[in-house]
Symmetry: C2
Subunit: 220 residues, 2 copies
């Protein structure tokens, strides 16, 4: 979504984006910007701070209360001052006019890469293989199947998910579950792992958690 008052630049930008396989929307009704953004839910916003009727910074601030849609700020101020810095509060990137088209594309690509998931404030979903994990509600969905995790199961699964690449030791898990792992039965962890595995099995993930005897567990 392009938010920019100079029509010439708008069209130029839209053409550039469309030539590079992006879909471009030009926002016209500046006064209703926030609602338009939230309704259209663009993947990324190019926001000129110097547009009439609205204060770009304020718009960004208000937007950030509702959503983390990536925003690249466009400014015609060429100075490298604190002013330019302040612009970037809450923005994912910024670029100064006149911009080099290739650099702009590069930055758009980079921002999209690093924010490609989870930019709605309320979705806390992580993805693993084909399943979706809502770490807020503790629900895992796969196709039309769904399981509900308890708090402990959630903590374990989140941790394994965040460390997919390596073996997670039992001690680590004990620590994140109970902090002072001395007061709780060693077996409590094993039982919780067992319960988690049973639930994962329900949605077809028979061997998701792999035991490495003497070392720990790993998501496989």
């Amino acid at each position: 979504m392009i938010i920019e008052d100079e029509e010439l630049i708008c069209n130029e930008l839209a053409k550039l984006l469309e030539n590079n396989n992006y879909e471009a929307i030009i926002l016209k009704d500046f006064k209703n910007a926030l609602n338009e953004i939230l309704e259209l839910a663009p993947d990324l916003i190019l926001l000129d701070i110097n547009i009439p009727f609205i204060n770009g910074e304020a718009l960004l601030q208000n937007l950030r209360k509702e959503s983390n849609i990536p925003v690249i700020m466009v400014t015609s101020i060429n100075s490298e001052t604190d002013e330019a810095l302040s612009i970037s509060y809450g923005a994912d990137d910024y670029i100064t006019k006149p911009y080099n088209p290739n650099i702009l594309l590069l930055r758009i690509g980079a921002v999209l890469k690093r924010t490609k998931t989870n930019y709605n404030t309320n979705t806390n979903e992580l993805t693993y293989k084909k399943l979706k994990f809502d770490s807020q509600k503790g629900i895992i969905k796969r196709d039309d199947m769904e399981i509900e995790l308890t708090k402990n199961e959630m903590i374990i699964f989140s941790y394994l998910l965040n460390h997919q690449n390596r073996i997670v030791t039992r001690d680590e898990l004990m620590t994140i579950l109970w902090d002072n792992s001395e007061y709780v039965n060693e077996n409590a962890l094993t039982v919780n792992i067992s319960r988690l595995r049973n639930k994962l099995k329900e949605i077809g993930y028979e061997n998701a958690i792999d035991t490495r005897k003497g070392m720990g567990y790993i998501l496989s």
Copy 2:
């Protein structure tokens, strides 16, 4: 933390940073980079991709599995090609050599601003006033006080926190709590709100949740 092989540039950078009230560490042992980073836990990393012994991209990828410490990629490739784009996977920003010191400072400031919290994979903390909310464990801390929320309380509190600026309707809360709000007693929500309020009171937040009769609730 500066990861860069040209000593001249290293020192120049360190001086620049220190003159601007940052603390600079220069990484020497490239082969042990990942461990050093994780141990020293810098607030931000300036990473040159073209350093001997390690592949900057691979290092970034491995780092990203463990932590979201902000990384600004430094590249001497001046071309605006896909190559440069690929560099930015997982990086928070990138800059090409030779860089303008002021622009670099600007970018460092911007990256720090937008990532100032939560760059460890495992902390899910949101902040509201003086309290810290770990949405993973459902724990709210204020000073040395601490309360533990149940799943329902967590869902409500998270939602209010993510919509601090506006009134949240009872219907919205019913929907996020029970999806099909018809099967559950209207009063169940009221009771859950009540329980949440009691807990918040325990840590000194007497009137955190404000009732707007006929409209909903708002965090005040």
